[in-house]
């Protein structure tokens, strides 16, 4: 789920950037950090900064030449929650299950959490399919799934999901019927 929230981050700046452009340099460095990926288990992954609220006073960090500035900024974050139901695009299918992506979030659905009436078929295009072939899960399929667990590392969020509950599974768009 996407949220618009205010976050605070301590940015360390080298004295060579202490000039009239100090504020711009801080903002540029913040943007670069976001581009590399700012991720936390509490707030999720920062997708884009929408504004800078406040830049506090800089304090010299003991033992170094850097100064640390607290920067408050507004941003769009992507934060999946356990129990949340969302739609995702399948990116890989194998006999253990399938991987899907919902924006910057990767989700794995194990074959144990795929309905029993769907079976794995390997081949040129590995798929999960019902015996009558009416419902198929393959690369680029859109599925609705429920998140049952999340794991966050420094730059990415990884989730585990299920499609074994009611109203979950492949999405049938009216256009494709």
């Amino acid at each position: 789920m996407f949220f618009h929230i205010v976050l605070e981050r301590n940015m360390q700046l080298d004295p060579r950037y202490f000039s009239n452009n100090l504020r711009e340099n801080l903002v540029t460095q913040l943007m670069e950090d976001v581009n590399k990926g700012i991720c936390s288990s509490q707030h999720g992954v920062v997708v884009a900064i929408t504004g800078i609220e406040n830049i506090g006073k800089g304090l010299i960090v003991n033992g170094t030449r850097f100064a640390s500035f607290p920067v408050r900024y507004q941003c769009v974050v992507c934060r999946p929650f356990k129990g949340e139901i969302l739609e995702a695009v399948v990116t890989m299918v194998n006999k253990m299950g399938f991987f899907a992506e919902a924006g910057p979030v990767q989700i794995f659905v194990s074959n144990h959490l795929i309905p029993d009436d769907m079976e794995f078929q390997c081949g040129d295009m590995p798929i999960y399919t019902t015996s009558d072939g009416l419902i198929k899960i393959q690369i680029d399929s859109e599925v609705r799934l429920k998140i049952i667990g999340t794991q966050v590392d420094r730059t990415q969020i990884f989730c585990v999901g299920t499609i074994k509950d009611d109203f979950l599974g492949v999405i049938n768009h009216p256009a494709s019927v």
Binding site: M1, F2, A48, T50, C78, G83, I85, L86, E87
Partner: protein, 134 residues
């Protein structure tokens, strides 16, 4: 701070920070990110590659957007006293029946919130009207 084991979106346990925060539907995120994309293109030109997180998010929200008229959807939220998170989930997934809506947003079923089947049906009909006429 909400601990990992305590969080559960189906019971609306998503932590104070996020309950009070502005929850965005995919359509709203699409507008924001498109605007930001135009700004970034203006500043650094077409040659600079977009950050991966940004590009994946933009692609995703454009693909899974259901509404273009955000103002009316917000009115529906105020009328039915839904949490922002609940409205965003319903707005993103567009359930067609009351049963489906209660399955994807289980927190609607919580006793004492006044969301009986009729109220949920009216909400879904309102959203359907908005989608039809936008």
């Amino acid at each position: 701070m909400l601990r990992g084991e305590d969080e559960d979106a189906s019971e609306l346990k998503i932590g104070e920070d996020f309950l009070k925060a502005k929850c965005l539907m995919n359509s709203e995120v699409a507008i924001l990110l498109e605007h930001r994309y135009d700004q970034m293109k203006q500043m650094s030109g077409d040659s600079t590659p977009l950050p991966q997180v940004f590009e994946k998010s933009l692609q995703y929200v454009k693909c899974f957007s259901r509404f273009t008229n955000q103002g009316s959807v917000k009115q529906v939220r105020d009328r039915y006293q839904l949490a922002e998170f609940e409205l965003a989930v319903i707005g993103n997934l567009c359930p067609e029946t009351v049963e489906e809506a209660k399955a994807i947003v289980p927190s609607l079923k919580t006793k004492g919130r006044g969301h009986d089947d009729e109220a949920v049906e009216r909400l879904l009909n309102d959203l359907l009207m908005i989608k039809k006429f936008e």
